[in-house]
C-alpha cells in the first residue's frame, strides 16, 4: 500500500517535460524567425552564419543581415516577451487575480507618459531620449502607486492606487497627444502600438541587465507567491512576510516591464495571456509558472515578430496589434474549450 502511494504520479515530472518542450519550441521559433524576413535565409545558413561568427571566421553572404539585424531583434523579442509574461504571472499572483496584468502598478502608463513627453515636448523621436524618459516614467509611476497604496495593509489599496495613477498618466498622454503635431502623432502611434524595430546590439546590452536581473530573482519568490494565493494571513502563518515581499516584487516587475516598454513601446496581451494559458494547462504553481511564462512569453513574441515582419512585407505590422490579433482569438478558444469541457464532466 505504502509502496503504491509513494510512486503515485505527481505533477513534478510532467512540468519538467513541459519546460523542456518550451525550450525546444523557443529554439525552433528563434531559428524560424532568423530565417524569415525581406530576404529568406535557410535555417542551415543561419546556423552556419552564427558558427562563423562564434568561430571568428570572416562574414559571408547574408551573414550581416542575420548578425547585425535579426539576432539583436530576436534577442529583444525574447527579453521583452519574457519580461512581460513573467511580470504578468507575478502580478496575477501578488494580486490574487488571474486577470491582473503588469500595467496594474502603473508602469506601462507611466512609461507611455514619459515616451509621449519625449516625443512631443522634447521634439525628439530619437529612441534614446524616448527610452530614458519612458523608463523613468514607468518607475516613477510605480513608486507613486506604491507610496500611495502602502498606507494601508493589503494589496487592495495598491490596486486602487494603480487605477488612479494609471488614469492620471493616461490623461497626461491624452493632453500631450492633443498638443502633438502631425509628425509627432505618427511617432506616437508607432510607439503606442509597439515595435521591436529599434533593436541594436547596443540597445540589447542596455536593456538586458534590467530584465535579466528580475528574471533571475522572481523564481526565488515562487513558493511565497504560492502561499500568497491563500491570502496574506495564511502566507504569514506559513512563515512568509507579505509586507516585505510586496515592494520587492513590485520593484522587480517595474524594472523588467519598464525596460521593455521603454525600448519596444506598449505590447499588450503577452503579460495577461501567457501565464493564464500555462495556468490553465499546468495549474497555478509559481515554481513552474514563472520560468514557464518567461519561456512562453519569449516564444510568443519571437513568433509574433517574425509574422509582423513578413505578413505585409516589405512593410511591417505593429507587433502590439499582432499579439492581440492572434492571441485574442486563441485565448478565447482556450477559454471556451475549457468551460465546455468542465461543464460536461
Amino acid at each position: 500500500m505504502n509502496a503504491v502511494t509513494a510512486v503515485l504520479p505527481r505533477p513534478h515530472s510532467r512540468r519538467r517535460a513541459a519546460l523542456a518542450a518550451l525550450v525546444t519550441l523557443l529554439v525552433a521559433s528563434a531559428l524560424w524567425s532568423l530565417s524569415r524576413g525581406a530576404i529568406d535565409i535557410p535555417a542551415t545558413e543561419v546556423v552556419a552564419a552564427m558558427g562563423r561568427w562564434f568561430g571568428g571566421a570572416a562574414a559571408r553572404g547574408d551573414d550581416n543581415v542575420v548578425l547585425m539585424l535579426r539576432v539583436p531583434r530576436l534577442l529583444l523579442a525574447m527579453l521583452v516577451g519574457a519580461a512581460l509574461a513573467s511580470g504578468g504571472a507575478t502580478m496575477q499572483g501578488l494580486f490574487r487575480n488571474p486577470l491582473a496584468d503588469p500595467g496594474l502598478i502603473g508602469v506601462s502608463a507611466g512609461a507611455a507618459l514619459g515616451a509621449v513627453a519625449a516625443i512631443v515636448l522634447g521634439g525628439s523621436s530619437g529612441s534614446w531620449l524616448v527610452a530614458v524618459l519612458a523608463f523613468a516614467g514607468g518607475l516613477g509611476a510605480t513608486s507613486l502607486v506604491y507610496a500611495l497604496g502602502r498606507r494601508h495593509a493589503g494589496v487592495a489599496n495598491l490596486l486602487l492606487a494603480g487605477v488612479a495613477v494609471n488614469a492620471i498618466a493616461m490623461a497626461g498622454v491624452g493632453l500631450l497627444t492633443y498638443m502633438a503635431s502631425e509628425n509627432q502623432l505618427r511617432d506616437l502611434t508607432f510607439w503606442s502600438l509597439g515595435s521591436l524595430g529599434g533593436a541594436t546590439w547596443k540597445s540589447i546590452a542596455t536593456i538586458a541587465p534590467w530584465i535579466l536581473l528580475p528574471l533571475a530573482c522572481l523564481p526565488r519568490a515562487a513558493q511565497a507567491l504560492n502561499a500568497l494565493l491563500l491570502g496574506e494571513g495564511e502566507a504569514t502563518l506559513l512563515g512568509f512576510r507579505p509586507e516585505r515581499l510586496q515592494p520587492l516584487l513590485v520593484g522587480l516587475v517595474a524594472l523588467a516591464v519598464g525596460a521593455s516598454v521603454a525600448f519596444s513601446g506598449v505590447i499588450g496581451f503577452v503579460g495577461l495571456v501567457v501565464p493564464h494559458l500555462l495556468r490553465m494547462i499546468f495549474g497555478p504553481d509559481h515554481r513552474f509558472l514563472l520560468p514557464g511564462s518567461a519561456l512562453g512569453g519569449a516564444i510568443l513574441l519571437v513568433a509574433a515578430d517574425a509574422l509582423a515582419r513578413t505578413v505585409v512585407a516589405p512593410g511591417e505590422l505593429p507587433i502590439g496589434v499582432l499579439t492581440a490579433l492572434v492571441g485574442g482569438p486563441f485565448f478565447l478558444w482556450q477559454l471556451l474549450r475549457r468551460r465546455i469541457g468542465e461543464g460536461v464532466r
Binding site: 502511494t5 509513494a6 503515485l8 505527481r10 505533477p11 513534478h12 490574487r96 487575480n97 488571474p98 513558493q223 504560492n226 502561499a227 494565493l229 491563500l230 491570502g231 494571513g233 495564511e234 504569514t236 502563518l237 506559513l238 512563515g239 512568509f240 512576510r241 495556468r279 495549474g283 497555478p284 504553481d285
Partner: protein, 256 residues
Amino acid sequence: MNHDAALSARALRVSRGGRLILRDVSLTAVPGQLLVLVGPNGAGKSTLLSTMAGLLEADVGQVTLDGRPLAAWPHRELARRRAMLSQRVDLAFGFSVEEVVGLGRSPHAPDVMRDDRIVDAALRAAHAWGLRGRRYTALSGGEKQRVQLARVLAQIWEAASTGGWLLLDEPEAGLDIAHQHFILRRARACAAAGFGVIAVLHDLNLAARYADRVAVLADGALLRHGEPTEALDPSLLSAIYGIPLVRRAGGAIDAL
C-alpha cells in the same frame, strides 16, 4: 518534554478601529491538551486565537511560546511549530488538492519524497484521502475545510514531539455532524500525540464533550478558564448569551 513548554497570552489588549476587542486577557495553554474557547459572537475569541498565532499584534501585552515572545521567533521557525486553520480561506486558483496540502510544507526545507509522504499522511488524517487528484476550486465547502485541515496538519506534521501547536478557528463550521465529531476527535488525537491544541468553537456541547480545558470569553474579557464542567456553568452562560440555558440530565447544554 520541555518543562516550560506553553503558549501564553499575557495581559493582551487589542483594539481595532477604536473598539476594544480584548481587555487584558491572560491565558496559558499547555501541550497535550485541547483548550476550547467559547463565547458569544463578538466576544473576541477569534482575535485572541489570531493574536496567539502571531497573526495580529497586541497593543499591550505579549504572547510567548516556550517563554519566548512570538515577535522574537524567526518567522519560518515559528511556522514549523504552529499552524492555524482559519475560518475561511479564499483560494480562487485551481491548485490540485495535493498541491494545496503541499503548501503546508513551504516553511520546511524542500524534500520531495518526504513532503509527498507527509502530504499523503495528512490527507488521510483529515479524511481527505478520497479528494486526491481533484481541483480545489471544484470542491464543496466542507471538502475544502478538510483539505485546509490537511494542509495545516502537514505544516506541523513532525512537530508533535518538539511542542507543535495547532490552532483551529471554528473548525466545525460548515461541516456535517459526522465531520464535526471527526474533526474534534482529530483535535483530541493531536493533543494525545503531544500537540497543544486550541480551538474556537460555537457548539457548547462539542466543547463540553471534547475539551480538556475551556475558556469562556464575553465582550473581550476572559470570564472563566477551567475544566469543562466547571467553566461551562449554565448560569454564567445564560448571562453572557442572554438566553436561559440549562444543563440536561445527560450533561447536554440546551436552551430552556
